[in-house]
Amino acid sequence: MARIFVYVVHKSGVPDDSAPELLAAARRIDPAQSPTALLTGCGAELEAVCGALTASCQEVWKIAGEALAYPNAELVRKALAAVVPPGSIVLVAHSHFGVDLAPGLSIRMNAAYAPDVVEIEGVTGAALKLVRQEFGGQVSAHVRCDISGGAVIGVRPGAFKPIESAPAGGQVIDKSADVGPLTAGRRYLETVVAETGAVDITKHQVLVSIGRGIQGEENVPIAEELAEAMGAAVSCSRPVVDAKWMEKSRQVGSSGKTVKPKVYMACGISGSFQHLAGLKGNPFIVAINKNPKAPIFRVADVGIVADILEFLPQLTNRIREECAVPAKGGHRS
């Protein structure tokens, strides 16, 4: 069996949440092997995170350098390609960073690439059997990946449950000298932090969240009226922001806000994993969608197959009748 590496993203000296998930995924490929952690960075933060990982991995490979202080995927890719032996399997989180790094890494390694993997079924000879999702999660597919020349596996964040393992008592191995001077045709300048906006959806207990099913900016008031009747705020999924029907600050998801409401009304939202990644704290999810096959129904508590443009006004009226109290100030959307 090929040697398995997990590339660990870290911040402020702490490994990313994806690290234990990648380690769990590695064990699904080869339960007998202690996967090797692979880290890039510099200074005390890198030392701290490498030290932490020796508890989980027998070997932690460290690539330190000033050029790697910020994880520029163009530089990280060169560094990894320089140290990873041919034929290895490298696991990377299929995140904003992973999609920047991994496809090109597979070419540099002359290895297979399996992106956004949600399950690993096992290895037969040189064939690794995986599960991926297509068409926005509406259907899954079994995929055979030829690992005879190595592989890069993009692992979907949240898909693998971390497993407890005995302390590995591992050691840190410094591979920095194997990497030559690093330069790239792309240079990191700065990070621009997202604005909060007039309504902070992360502070609300109840969210009426709208997706593509709202169909147009002119229909947004339908959701605002429901939110007002419920004492909720209006949030949304990515297509609504892309179409400029709502502000970016209202978007729930991995590229938007992470919210922890008590009740989440998913209205005309299909339920992509990127959207669900922004929904934490196990809320009570009500899904309303006219497509009975929408993936959102797999994670919702209650589902209604309906066109939200018809259903939301009916629900608003019903709540107004039953509650028959004026909308409270300060809770308006």
Binding site: T258, F297, N317, R318, H331
Partner: protein, 263 residues
């Protein structure tokens, strides 16, 4: 600036319920509505806006069959100057690497300053742009949501990262960028616009034209092979509320009261 946009024709998931066929191993393809992959549409629009500012031309291409020509024609109706279909029986069954290799061969027949792809297509793989860049040894950036042209053969680009934050980079031309949805507002294309370009020639390049060894692409060259499709398990699954609108809203209001959804 000479810009190439690589696009794909895909089943439109906002228009279709994707179902399995009778054998249960493929999706039912008979009545699918196809359209241009949504992120690719943003990539075409971005290319057109860039040449509006800097001059140059936009070329669009896709790896596919005759049916895929319709998206190329649509892109010409948007304003693209040239379109080329990359089609050969040997290309069928290509994985991401195979498609990237076909595109690489096409890129090397021309001279492009900038190559754009959509961030991902119907398979959610987000792979071809990054692979193509590595094969060409060009710099690459994924999830690009702003482009500013700088002097001296460089761009200033924004990348979408976690939490709605943006990572700003400077990148040298030529380069490959994968374009995120929302970067612009793609122009509308009506039937009239498409009719106006109906007679424009769209050349087809096959493996021979591109100098591609058929064994390195298609099924023969693929390291990744889809075995079947299946419907994922429901998990706990939602309790579906059914009945008349009055019955459904009544049940839902009761549930919302219990769960703290009405304040």
């Amino acid at each position: 600036m000479e810009i190439l946009v690589c696009a794909k024709r895909v089943p439109d998931t906002s228009e279709n319920e994707i179902e399995l066929d009778r054998a249960g191993t493929d999706i039912e393809r008979d009545e699918l509505v196809y359209s241009i992959n949504e992120p690719d549409n943003y990539a075409v629009e971005e290319a057109l806006q860039l040449v509006d500012r800097t001059g140059g031309t936009v070329t669009v291409t896709t790896v596919g069959a005759e049916d895929d020509e319709e998206i190329l024609r649509r892109e010409m109706a948007m304003g693209a100057h040239h379109a080329v279909l990359l089609s050969d029986e040997a290309f069928e069954g290509s994985d991401g690497r195979g498609n990237a290799a076909i595109l690489k061969a096409f890129v090397q027949k021309g001279k492009y300053d900038l190559i754009l792809t959509g961030v991902q297509a119907d398979d959610g793989a987000a792979q071809v742009g990054g692979m193509l860049a590595a094969m060409l040894d060009y710099p690459f950036a994924a999830l690009v949501n702003s482009i500013e042209v700088l002097d001296g053969g460089k761009l200033k680009i924004g990348r979408e990262i976690e939490g709605g934050n943006r990572e700003i980079n400077e990148i040298d031309l030529p380069c490959v960028l994968s374009i995120q949805t929302g970067i612009n507002e793609p122009r509308y294309v009506g039937m009239r616009g498409i009719r106006q370009v109906a007679s424009r020639e769209i050349p087809t390049f096959d493996a021979g034209d591109l100098g591609i060894d058929p064994d390195t692409v298609g099924e023969a060259g693929a390291k990744l092979e889809r075995l079947d499709y299946f419907i994922p398990a429901m998990g706990k699954g939602a309790e579906m509320l059914e009945g008349s609108p009055e019955e459904i809203t009544g049940k839902l209001v009761e549930l919302l009261k219990v769960k703290g959804g009405l304040n």
